[in-house]
Amino acid sequence: MIEKDGVAPLEMVMKEFPDDKEVLINPKAIIECYKEIPCNPCETSCPFDAIHVGEDINARPKIDFDKCTGCGICVYNCPGLAISVRQLQGDKAILKIPYEFVPRPEKGSLVNVVNRNGDVITEGSVKRVQEGKNQKQTCLLHVEIHRDFIYDAITIEVPRGS
């Protein structure tokens, strides 16, 4: 239960995805902001006017998948690291996730991909490490995984207690 452990159950997660999975042939931002908090940088940073929060900044963001290009700018700007970009490519899926650890994983390296509970669910391959222009310290990791994990994958494992 998300209020007790921070883990959004899959049915909750699925509601944030486009109803038609085929929409994800193009990259789309998936916003996992499940509780009202006073915050709107996703809306103000989007160059395509695809995210709506509105005057009351406590409202949960709503995304228009027709307008979203999956550019990833909102991913850099979300203070809660609650947005990722997901795309299906054949039997693969590409995740663009916010990453704030150093050293950055190297391009081409294999990484352990985890679910929202922190369990390693699959291996992914780092396709690109994209440093932000305005958002220093947060980078966008492009990680390729098998398409089966497009809903479950959330980030990569980081070393503990190094």
Binding site: D5, K35, I37, P38, C39, P41, N58, P79, T155
Partner: protein, 361 residues
């Protein structure tokens, strides 16, 4: 004794915003802060802020600090900064007693803005004075300001935003956060912060608290246990975790002592964190010419503190006889910002607190 015009005590987000408004209006401003670097807690806040663009949302606290300090630069000729200076006394005739590097001196102010912030609360448990037990904010200072790793394995106590954020920052520093325990049945901070640490493998345990710390010269282990509905430990549920550091993040208390000394009316409002001054809608305390803003009037986020600071600064400038350009519109816009910052479910406690305070004023 030197005469000063507007004296701001505390150079955190509230104090710096108040300073900007006073300087813009034409006042001479003296900022007093006990730390070397201005910014209060912003100096260690490496995370991105929430809020709207007006409160610099998605900028990191450390970067907001630079923006706030740069904003004072055009007014340097009217700005005096007394850093590494502690205010040790405050009197009704607006005499401020200060100590800087063991030198005692007094200044007399025309108006005073109290932006003293808050201090961290502690928790009673066996051996809670062992080395290795810190307030979470202290660990954040060690790590983010001084670059000192506090330990290798941490138990975080408390699931408010500070506990959640500091846990994430510990992970960033390469420290293992073994578990985060919370006495309440639900996470009290933002869920997005909780999700961030949970997916990186931190155990989040509700209705659980620390029973005792174990160790000879420092923390070597902790015993945690589950709590029942009335927050009592349940015998038989004890578990021992191997940690060398315990971070206590169980809330903040407003630093109201100086306001009590000056004789301002102070009320105990649980929802606001403890003793807070009675202020009117102009942020003026019961003592004319003494204003208060930021965490000292009630524990909230830094975004709210900035808005309150700006409002207190505008009112103080007005009362000193300065013309604040566009005053009523500026205040209206700030009011509106604050309304939205306080309108979500997370601000329910704060709203209840201010309702109580108003009822009594």
């Amino acid at each position: 004794m030197k005469n000063k015009e507007a004296v701001i005590i505390g150079a955190g987000p509230a104090g710096l915003k108040a300073a900007k408004q006073l300087l813009e209006a034409g006042a001479h401003v003296t900022i007093i802060d006990r730390n070397k670097k201005l910014g209060g807690q912003l100096v260690k806040q490496t995370h991105k802020f929430f809020g709207s663009e007006k409160q610099y949302a998605s900028f990191r606290g450390i970067d907001i600090l630079e923006i706030l300090v740069q904003g004072l630069k055009p007014f340097e000729d009217r700005l005096e900064i007394l850093n590494e200076t502690s205010v040790v006394g405050l009197y009704k005739d607006k005499v401020v007693a200060c100590v800087k590097h063991d030198n005692f001196f007094k200044i007399k102010a025309k108006s005073i803005i109290m932006a003293t912030g808050a201090s961290e609360k502690h928790l009673p448990f066996e051996n809670n004075d062992l080395p290795g037990i810190y307030a979470a904010g202290a660990v954040q200072t060690l790590m983010n300001e001084y670059g000192v790793k506090p330990g290798d394995k941490v138990l975080m106590v408390g699931s408010g935003n500070i506990g959640l954020i500091v846990s994430y920052q510990l992970l960033q520093a390469g420290v293992d956060v073994v578990a985060l325990v919370e006495a309440a049945p639900q996470i009290s901070g933002y869920l997005v912060h909780a999700s961030k640490i949970k997916r990186l493998g931190v155990d989040i345990l509700m209705q659980t608290s620390i029973k005792r710390a174990i160790g000879k010269d420092q923390v070597e282990q902790v015993e945690i246990w589950e709590l029942d509905e009335v927050w009592q430990g349940i015998p038989g549920t004890e578990r021992v975790l191997g940690v060398d550091t315990v971070c206590i993040s169980v809330g903040l208390a407003p630093l109201t002592e100086l306001l009590m000394q000056i004789g301002a009316d102070v009320e105990y409002i649980r929802e606001l964190g403890g003793n807070v001054p009675r202020i009117d809608f102009r942020y003026e305390t019961s003592i004319k010419g003494v204003y208060a803003c930021g965490d000292v009037v009630g524990i909230e986020e830094a975004s709210s503190a900035m808005v309150e600071g700006a409002m207190a600064g505008i009112h103080a400038a007005h009362d000193l006889g300065y013309t604040v350009e566009d005053e009523s519109r500026k205040l209206k816009v700030l009011q509106e910002e604050l309304k939205f910052l306080r309108s979500g479910p997370h601000a329910a406690k704060v709203r209840a607190g201010y309702t109580k305070l108003e009822v009594k004023t």
